[in-house]
């Protein structure tokens, strides 16, 4: 019958097209998300000194430069065979926790939150941060902007620059912090904990207090029983900065746990002719197409996945919230895509608590923040949890440290297959034969992938900026029946 195209996808990076293919009966047969490609990042890097990578990769896009900076810095540790001193590792994790608070705050209030706070039926003009503020009050706007300001200020104070840090070095960092700055960081961290608790309270009031939203979160249209991936510490608790990669199945049972450097033994990449972006999948399970279930190697790497793949949170208040999430939604694992927003807030609280823990660590003001590398570089893999999923950097160099090979698997790329699954399932749930395709219906489709906080800027090496979304409704032969777009 036709294809729906959504253009632009409001509030997303780059620009994308969703094609919804209808069968002869007018029901949704398939739905695909396509994003444009940026070219030549690997060749841009090859031939440069590996030490440039923390600064270069953080320029791929403007959304999570701190995550790229950290993954690249850790890849340099591995490349040069140097283990940073404890103070350096703690400083990096402190810096990274502050970044997570800042990033998750922005996503909840500006990108993901409006769907719930304003409701999926609200007109696009209202489904933004201004609409949220209108509904929850000006005081909240001030708190959100202040949280960002505090986060960016501390990121600059620790990492040297406000957005693009120039601080990470193989074997450590370029500078430490003094007692005065430590006190400031601790004080601000306590404020961050309060802000995170306030945000969880807001989620309680607005989402959990609304039966309709809870039903929406739990509904089958937004549910995928896939594998989940996340980085865990020695006790299988969530960790953003370091640890092993743990993958659990749809029932919550562990499939594998591995060192990030071994990612190629566990992750393979499927290619489709219609997408520039590859589709990573679990090698041990195999590619079975865009389907969920234990037989399909499709996995998710999101805030909710991190919670599903872990045994809990390593900080006390976040652990309480972790338990409450699973009690409310029927036990671990939870496969409701829209619960990712809630998981993001649990992580926000964890990041704030970890921020304060590290600020209080006696070693954090230590002077031993760098170990000079002496080994000949060859190959190195570095991995962190980016806000949007597991981020892996892999470099090879010649004996002088000049790059010969660069491979990045970014957060959103991990989620490429599940994003397509989510779009298809949401489209099937809301688009029915004979029912007009309306703006609110399309928003319900958009909501499915907005939960992933997708950032195609580095997934395709694409542009920061607004992502226009086109939804094409297509007939079985590919002819466009109708197109919807937003500017």
């Amino acid at each position: 019958m036709g294809t729906i195209t959504i253009d632009p996808v409001t509030r997303l990076e780059g620009h994308a097209t969703i094609d919804i293919f209808l069968d002869d009966a007018g029901s949704v047969q398939n739905a695909y998300l396509q994003v444009p490609e940026l070219r030549g990042f690997e060749s841009f890097c090859v031939g440069r000194p590996a030490e440039d990578m923390p600064n270069l990769t953080s320029r791929i896009c403007g959304v999570c430069p701190e995550a790229h900076h950290m993954a690249a810095t850790k890849a340099l540790d591995a490349l040069f065979g140097v283990d940073p001193p404890p103070t350096a590792k703690k400083l990096r994790e402190l810096f990274y926790s502050i970044f997570f608070v800042t990033d998750h705050t922005t996503h909840f209030y500006a990108l993901g939150g409006p769907d719930f706070v304003m409701g999926p039926d609200a007109p696009p003009a209202k489904r933004n941060i201004l609409g949220v503020i209108e509904k929850v009050g000006m005081e909240v706007a001030g708190r959100v902007l202040n949280m960002r300001k505090v986060g960016h200020g501390l990121i600059q104070a620790i990492g040297g620059r406000r957005v693009h840090p120039n601080w990470g070095l193989p074997g450590g960092v370029s500078k430490g912090i003094d007692e005065k700055l430590r006190q400031e960081i601790e004080l601000r961290g306590e404020e961050a904990i309060e802000f995170a608790r306030f945000s969880l309270g807001l989620f309680d009031d607005i989402v959990l207090g609304n039966e309709r939203y809870v039903e929406l979160v739990k509904s089958e249209g937004y549910t995928h029983r896939t594998y989940d991936m996340g980085t865990v510490d020695a006790h299988d608790k969530v960790n953003f900065y370091d640890g092993q990669i743990r993958v659990v199945g749809p029932s919550g049972k562990q499939l594998c746990k591995y060192e990030p450097a071994d990612y190629r033994d566990h992750i393979a990449e499927h290619v489709e002719s219609w997408s520039y972006l590859k589709f990573p999948y679990l090698r041990a399970v195999g590619w079975r197409g865009f389907v969920d279930g234990a037989e399909s190697g499709v996995y998710k790497a999101t805030p909710l996945s991190r919670l599903n793949a872990s045994a809990g949170m390593a900080t006390p208040r976040a652990q309480v919230e972790y338990e409450r999430l699973y009690e409310t939604l029927g036990g671990r694992p939870v496969h409701s895509t829209l619960a990712t927003h809630w998981a993001r807030l649990v992580e926000l609280l964890y990041a704030a608590e970890r921020w304060v823990e590290l600020a209080r660590d006696p070693e954090i003001t230590g002077k031993d923040w760098r170990k000079l590398p002496t080994a000949t570089p060859r190959e190195g893999v570095g991995s962190v949890e980016a806000p949007r999923g597991t981020l892996t950097h892999h470099y090879r160099t010649d004996e002088r440290g000049i790059l010969t090979h660069v491979n990045l698997i970014v957060g959103t790329t991990n989620n490429n297959a599940p994003i397509n699954l989510s779009i298809k399932k949401a489209a099937q749930a809301v688009i029915e034969k004979g029912r007009p395709v309306t703006e609110p219906l399309l928003n319900m489709v958009e909501m499915a992938f907005r939960a992933y906080d997708p950032c195609f800027a580095c997934a395709t090496h694409s542009l920061p900026g607004r992502m226009p979304l086109v939804v094409n409704l297509r007939s079985p032969d590919g002819a466009i029946l109708s197109t919807l777009s937003r500017q």
Partner: protein
């Protein structure tokens, strides 16, 4: 009679993404000559939305120079205001449009320039999809044109739409 404006000249874009870096390149050219002016600050930025709004806080007037992708000839330089065609970066997908971000900032009492005092010097790009530290030739050639446009904008006491035609001449 009036005090000179407290002005920010901001180069927007990704500095390693070919023509997308043109805002940075223009600012590099003009920064040296603006360095001596007491009321003009110069910076670069790669984020739109709230981040971009936050960069503008405290200024009476902001001149943003950025790449734009439309149907014009590569290298074409235009002067626009918020509310007109946005460039790639003014809107961030991860937070808000520039328009919404400005409204948000104003609502919480941030000191921000009026829309009429926010000027976009937009350079039509040819390739914003290939990583490179160099702009394409037509865009490279437009860098001095954009710099001259900024000089004219700065020389005006107003940047209201009816004055924009003059700025490009």
């Amino acid at each position: 009679m009036n005090e000179p404006a407290n002005t920010l000249v901001l180069g927007l874009g990704n500095p390693i993404l070919g023509d997308d870096a043109v805002g940075w390149r223009v600012v590099e050219v003009i920064a040296r000559e603006l360095a001596g002016l007491p009321n003009v600050a110069v910076c670069t930025c790669c984020r739109g939305g709230i981040e971009l709004m936050e960069e503008m806080v405290g200024f009476d007037r902001v001149v943003i120079v950025d790449a734009i992708v439309s149907a014009a000839e590569p290298g074409t330089v235009r002067v626009l205001h918020p509310g007109e065609l946005p460039t790639r970066h003014c809107n961030s997908a991860h937070d808000a449009t520039l328009e919404a971000a400005l409204a948000l900032g104003r609502r919480v009492g941030a000191r921000l320039p009026l829309d009429d005092d926010i000027v976009l010097v937009a350079v039509e790009a040819s390739d914003v999809s290939t990583f490179s530290e160099r702009c394409t030739p037509a865009v490279q050639a437009a860098i001095p044109v954009a710099a001259a446009t900024i000089r004219r904008v700065l020389s005006r006491s107003t940047t209201r739409p009816d004055a924009r035609a003059e700025m490009l001449t």
